[in-house]
Symmetry: none
Subunit: 208 residues, 4 copies
Amino acid sequence: MPRNTRLNPRKTAGQERSRATVDALIEATARILVREGFDRASTNHVADVAGVSVGSLYQYFPSKEALVAAVVDRHTQKIQRTVQAELIGIEAESLERGVRKLIAAAIEGHRVDPKLHAVVAEQIPRVGKLQKISDSSRANITRFREFLDSHQKEIRTLDLDLAAFVCVSSIEALTHNAVLHHAETFSTEAMHGLADEATRLIVGYLKK
Amino acid sequence: MPRNTRLNPRKTAGQERSRATVDALIEATARILVREGFDRASTNHVADVAGVSVGSLYQYFPSKEALVAAVVDRHTQKIQRTVQAELIGIEAESLERGVRKLIAAAIEGHRVDPKLHAVVAEQIPRVGKLQKISDSSRANITRFREFLDSHQKEIRTLDLDLAAFVCVSSIEALTHNAVLHHAETFSTEAMHGLADEATRLIVGYLKK
Amino acid sequence: MPRNTRLNPRKTAGQERSRATVDALIEATARILVREGFDRASTNHVADVAGVSVGSLYQYFPSKEALVAAVVDRHTQKIQRTVQAELIGIEAESLERGVRKLIAAAIEGHRVDPKLHAVVAEQIPRVGKLQKISDSSRANITRFREFLDSHQKEIRTLDLDLAAFVCVSSIEALTHNAVLHHAETFSTEAMHGLADEATRLIVGYLKK
Amino acid sequence: MPRNTRLNPRKTAGQERSRATVDALIEATARILVREGFDRASTNHVADVAGVSVGSLYQYFPSKEALVAAVVDRHTQKIQRTVQAELIGIEAESLERGVRKLIAAAIEGHRVDPKLHAVVAEQIPRVGKLQKISDSSRANITRFREFLDSHQKEIRTLDLDLAAFVCVSSIEALTHNAVLHHAETFSTEAMHGLADEATRLIVGYLKK
DNA sequence: GATGAATGAGCGTTCATTCAT
DNA sequence: GATGAATGAACGCTCATTCAT
């Protein structure tokens, strides 16, 4: 077996270029979304800003919807990566410290790109491919349920599915509203207060 | 001089006609929004479905935005009326029963026209006149704060503004998600379970 | 023959009212034309400003064109009255003094309502009933030809029709351009200079 | 390296195509303006007649106004080229022969496309970008002033600016009216008579 | 592949005109 | 007569998408 000098084989020139084009398009769309709004994110404008032709845009994305979906996906993934990073080692934590970590993670998630988050939440119509925008919520519920599972001893008897729904919905709403609709109300300091309250809310609900 | 037997004089023919046209337009818009989505709610289509001419639409609404805003307003008001009705006598109730009533009211509010609610929440871009779509949330926070004020004795020491924010956000999210995103999960029966859980969540958070 | 106690019999109430409505409509149109431009002179807007209904507008004017034509006619007549007044006794004058009077009269004519004049000349498309906007020019040529006729002794031998065309065109152009396009160039004082030059131009051309 | 025999490289296919589209649009607009009038020159109709789509029209002209302005500009430039051609060597001419040449040039200018000229003068509202329609007149005054400057010896003492204004206004009016409003009166023969008269008018006014 | 000129359905909106009251 | 709500053809314009080069 010949020694594999490169574990991550260099992409072919073509692949690299393709990748760069796709990235430029997604990036351009995100920028326009944030700076000029969804209404101004026409495919021609996006292509312009990305420095490619409209034709190329359609080479990589079959429709405008697909392009926007890619932006949303990329954003969602960034958030997930951030949140996951915050959640390392959470299984070992007590219920209370675990919940607090989860809430801190949710807040961090909303800090990834709050302006894009706002546009995604408020300007992009959830239709067709964009329906699933709220899908990440379902994943969060599942994950939280697992967390509850592994902390059964500390919590009172309850329907874990229902409880996961209750907790995740509350945490998401608190975080989302605080960051997007009440940013003026919540200074960085007040944000900690919010995290405390949210923790109390959730833990009080779950604990024996 | 003949006695005018009617104190509330019959509306003039013109007023009646105008009112009917306005109603037809708002109704048509709501129907299209629900059945065909925001994208298909073009002014010409709305006028068609309302059985009037585009010209008439613009006689009463200066722009498409204003028309949609009227639909949202009417929907919001319907919800408010429903909620208010559910809330009669709430001041006399204990904290726990009051909170339960509030949650029940929120659920009823979401039952007014869930499909339109979904479209308003997910398809209508919050831009221009439509920015204020989430304003009712602020009003709810204020109202809830008053409720807390009048139940000071029963609740632990806390920042009432913050607490109101936490509670209202949670209740809204729970209700909204249950009705709109997890309708399949929640039977009427399960909905009661949800109300119970929500009550427990909020009361547990507030109580001494 | 019964004594006619009133030479100008009072108009019937209906006639008076009609006349008032017609006047109000023409006046409103003129105002809008001047203040907001031809594009904004919609029939509805005119009726509004005139304080009558669109329906009434169409009672008196069969079309928007007819309404605008009435405004133009009224303006033209005002000018003609002004000009005629300036021209009294002109037959008795020498060629030179007569020409000077004519030019002064043309300038006065342009002073009647320069802003309306500008709109008529620059914004109203000369189409249909409005074609004849320049007709007054033809009348002026005829009148000037008569003036030349009565001053035959003082002028050299020439084709009077052609001469009248030359003189009237020149005088009108000079006056019009001075007032409308070079208002900044011509102070009241400079306007006299212009009258002098115009007189010299015309007299020099006609004299023996 | 092969020698590039062509200094003016062939236009790229794209450039040629673009140019053809632009030309077709301007040409179609001019035709419609002449044959059907300004009111019928809707952007859709223009595109139709040009054999392109409305979209293409807007690829090259940001607004209807810009399109019409382009037509007017092209027409004005054609006239200027014609006039310039007629004016070659005018500096060497005597005052009288120079003026005659100028007048002949003005007449030729009006012969370029009299019907379009009429539409430009009478149907196109001077608003926005179209305000400057009469700008060429100012240029003509400046040019004429230079002519007067170089013939100072032959002319009497006078304010050259004022004189230029007087002469250019008169010549333009005579030419314009003769061609556009009195075409029936002026046969080709009579046109020469007009040129004679105009020359006499202007020269008589300027000469010592 | 990449380009960008071309497409055209469809949008929001206006306004001269009509007609039931 | 007067009213003004109603009409609807038509307008200027946009933009997701296609396709010849």
